[in-house]
């Protein structure tokens, strides 16, 4: 169990030989938290000679975005992600193909005692959504750290915070609450969409060009009517669906969305309850989508509800 303490930024004056220079030490919620405390311990592994179909089945069942690929000596050699599977589908590979043909290497890892903060920066720099955590043995992988684990942790942190907007009702009135973060401030303000009449192949092209997890689908009037995520695509792949089918037949409806004025906590809860990795944001009219909020956006803000702990995010170069 992770316990949280409250830390604020502190300014330390270092006396140089000729000048006094202020150094702002950045501290936030994540400070001091190690990969060991934030990671999930369940790691899926498959050998290089397993079929893509088997990989899809495992990813769907365990709701993960990728799994570890092992060589014949059971050493991890790479990762097979939903993105790789979507690429294989688009490239016309049969689902009977072997994982070794589509996996990606080298494996990006961190250690048990690495700080989560550093891991998040590393993930961002490399454009990946998860990092595998190495154990003491040369070939051992003991866990996995993903944006959704971090977002879950932030949500729990905010729940236990005395300044939390979630617990506003339990508090006496004299205790003023920190300005809550709204979805509008954190969301990505562009939405990539396709028409429900476009082919699945066109949806995949859009998804791969923009490196997205899901594409919004609009009806003939331009209103949001569904979503196609990487998960929906790999399920279609496993079912032998043609790339030429209309988006309408693959999409999930209705669109899981929330209002742009909603507090971040509300949106997070909505995502966890609906088991989605992203929320489409509307401006009061649910057919009019103006942005997207993903769990990775939330992990980057390093806060689940307000500015009380993210204020110290302002980093001044030393």
């Amino acid at each position: 169990m992770v316990s949280f303490t409250f830390r604020t930024s502190s300014i330390i004056f270092l006396t140089n030989s000729c000048e006094v220079m202020p150094v702002i030490k950045t501290r936030n919620v994540m400070k001091g938290l190690l990969a060991n405390e934030a990671m999930q311990r369940q790691v899926l592994k498959l050998p290089e000679n397993a079929s893509l179909g088997k990989c899809i089945s495992q990813l769907i069942k365990f709701k993960l975005n990728g799994l570890l690929v092992l060589d014949s000596a059971l050493c991890p050699v790479g990762v097979a992600s939903k993105t790789d599977l979507v690429g294989a589908f688009y490239g016309g590979l049969p689902v009977e193909s072997l994982l070794g043909d589509i996996m990606n290497g080298p494996l990006l890892t961190c250690f048990l005692d690495d700080e989560v903060e550093a891991c998040l920066n590393f993930m961002r720099a490399n454009g990946v959504h998860q990092l595998y955590v190495r154990g003491a043995e040369p070939c051992s992988i003991v866990g996995m750290l993903s944006y959704s684990d971090v977002a879950g942790l932030l949500y729990r942190f905010c729940r236990s915070c005395p300044k939390s907007t979630i617990r506003k009702a339990e508090r006496s009135n004299h205790f003023s609450c920190a300005q809550p973060l709204t979805v509008k401030e954190i969301m990505t303000k562009s939405v990539i969409s396709r028409s429900e009449e476009d082919s699945l192949a066109e949806v995949i092209e859009e998804l791969m060009t923009h490196r997205l997890g899901a594409v919004l689908i609009r009806d003939a009037h331009g209103r949001a009517c569904g979503v196609i995520s990487k998960t929906d695509i790999i399920v279609s792949y496993n079912h032998g669906t043609s790339l030429e089918v209309q988006a309408r037949s693959v999409m999930q409806a209705p669109v899981v969305s929330c209002d742009q004025q909603s507090p971040l906590t509300e949106a997070l809860r909505h995502m966890f309850l609906n088991d989605v990795q992203r929320l489409f944001i509307h401006d009061g009219d649910s057919g009019h989508i103006i942005g997207v909020l993903s769990l990775s956006d939330v992990a980057q803000v390093r806060s689940g509800s307000c500015r009380a702990c993210s204020a110290s995010q302002i980093i001044a170069a030393p």
């Binding site: 089945s57 769907i60 279609s236 079912h239 966890f272 088991d275």
Partner: protein
């Protein structure tokens, strides 16, 4: 004594294209008709060949939300309201997508 001497030859099966909801109903029916708790069902194709096995554990893993540990911290009413929606959203997934394909078999 051989496996054929004690095996039962009447059992319920699933098809890979059954929905998860249909599979859950079959688990229930099989349990009632076989008068015992059924934890796993064999999956057969149209030629009646064994293609996999679905256990109730596979179904539970799949239906359980990823962040279920956070649900403790939410109000029970909110949680209950979402369960139906969740089950509704898994529609495209079929038995064939989550079944175990490496089935351990013995000859009769």
């Amino acid at each position: 004594m051989f496996a054929r001497d004690i095996m039962s030859t009447r059992f319920h099966t699933l098809r890979p294209d059954h929905s998860i909801a249909e599979a859950v109903r079959m688990f229930h029916t099989a349990g009632l008709e076989e008068e015992k708790r059924v934890f796993g069902l064999m999956v057969i194709d149209e030629k009646r060949h064994l293609v996999g096995m679905l256990s109730i554990y596979d179904v539970l893993l799949f239906v359980q939300p990823k962040h279920v540990h956070l649900w403790d911290e939410m109000d029970a009413s909110q949680v209950q309201a979402r369960y139906d929606e969740l089950l509704d959203r898994v529609k495209p997934v079929r038995v064939g997508d989550i079944m175990t394909i490496d089935v351990v078999t013995v000859s009769p």
